[in-house]
Amino acid sequence: MNAKPATSNETNWRLIPLETNTAAMNMALDEACAHEVILGNVSPTIRFYRWKPSAVTIGYFQSLEQEVDVKECAKQGVDIVRRRTGGGAVYHDYAGEITYSVIAPEKMFANNIVESYQQVAEWIIAGLGKLNVKAEFVPINDLVVSGKKISGNAQTRRSGILQMHGTILCDVDVDKMFSLLRVPDEKMKGKTITMVKERVTSLKQHGADDYTKIYHALHEGFIENKKITEGKWTKEEKQNAQILAEEKYSAQKWVGMR
């Protein structure tokens, strides 16, 4: 193991710049990276990514059938993957959001899980601030702008590693989202959609509609006060991720596990 760093700004971080992958590959890369961080083969890592095809992710504890209209996803060419983190179902539109992951020794963050959500949330807040969007952290795991949700986050801790990922909404199509996701009471679907429209916002609604600019702002927010070097996946990570994508994250056994 590498020396255990005390805080996130004393660490040498690796940054994997914005890339586009399938849903299975995105989740596989998080896990493959966590494995290499555990072994001390790579530095703690921050990555940005998007999803092609657009995808629905569900939380570890969610029931696939309860949360997702599987047939409709197939019809619309939308991938489905189960995350290894808890939390809720998310529609990751290719053009409508940016996802990040932070993979680092948990000792670098607060032992209290909700506090550690806030620590990473501060980086997102810093990034959104550069777009003149004032976001706030709302426990347990959300970020809001003027009281409306703009970002959802989830983490797992395994073998001393914190792996946290989250989505930042750039442009949101709630109707499309709910053509893919189910609601707890299907008879109340219309009402639920109206409620979600009132409670969810996007950067576009706050004057930021240039994807590249949004990415650069988030990138700035995340790297501030850190020793960070832009890097690439190692051969081991790529190979391991390829296997995980095929054997685990694409498999019905995992996706439909609950």
């Binding site: 939380g59 504890f61 809720g88 899980i113 983490q155 801790r157």
Partner: protein, 95 residues
């Protein structure tokens, strides 16, 4: 018989219980939702702990079994608690 119940825990997350039961025992208990449990596999331990439980088991006993599973895994629950799950399971059978 099959029963399902969904409940949003105040200040917490949405919990969705589904289970099968006959005149004597509970089976196939699933505790789903958008909550967090660390480590995640604790959920299987919790579900297993309730399998084949007598159908007349009360909330206190259900909670106790869930607590044992949580302790065994040294787990941390966020947005969900064993009391609420026990209450929901009990309600699911009664409804």
């Amino acid at each position: 018989m099959h029963a399902e119940i969904t409940h949003k825990i105040p200040q917490g997350k949405l919990v969705r219980i589904s289970l099968d039961y006959d005149t004597t025992i509970l089976q196939n208990i699933k505790i789903c939702g958008d909550f967090f449990i660390h480590p995640e596999e604790t959920i299987e331990e919790m579900e297993l702990a309730l399998n084949h439980l007598p159908v007349e088991a009360g909330e206190v006993r259900i909670k106790h079994l869930l607590d044992l599973a949580v302790e065994k895994k040294h787990a941390q629950l966020i947005g969900i608690d064993t009391q609420s799950v026990a209450k929901l399971i009990h309600e699911a059978i009664l409804q």
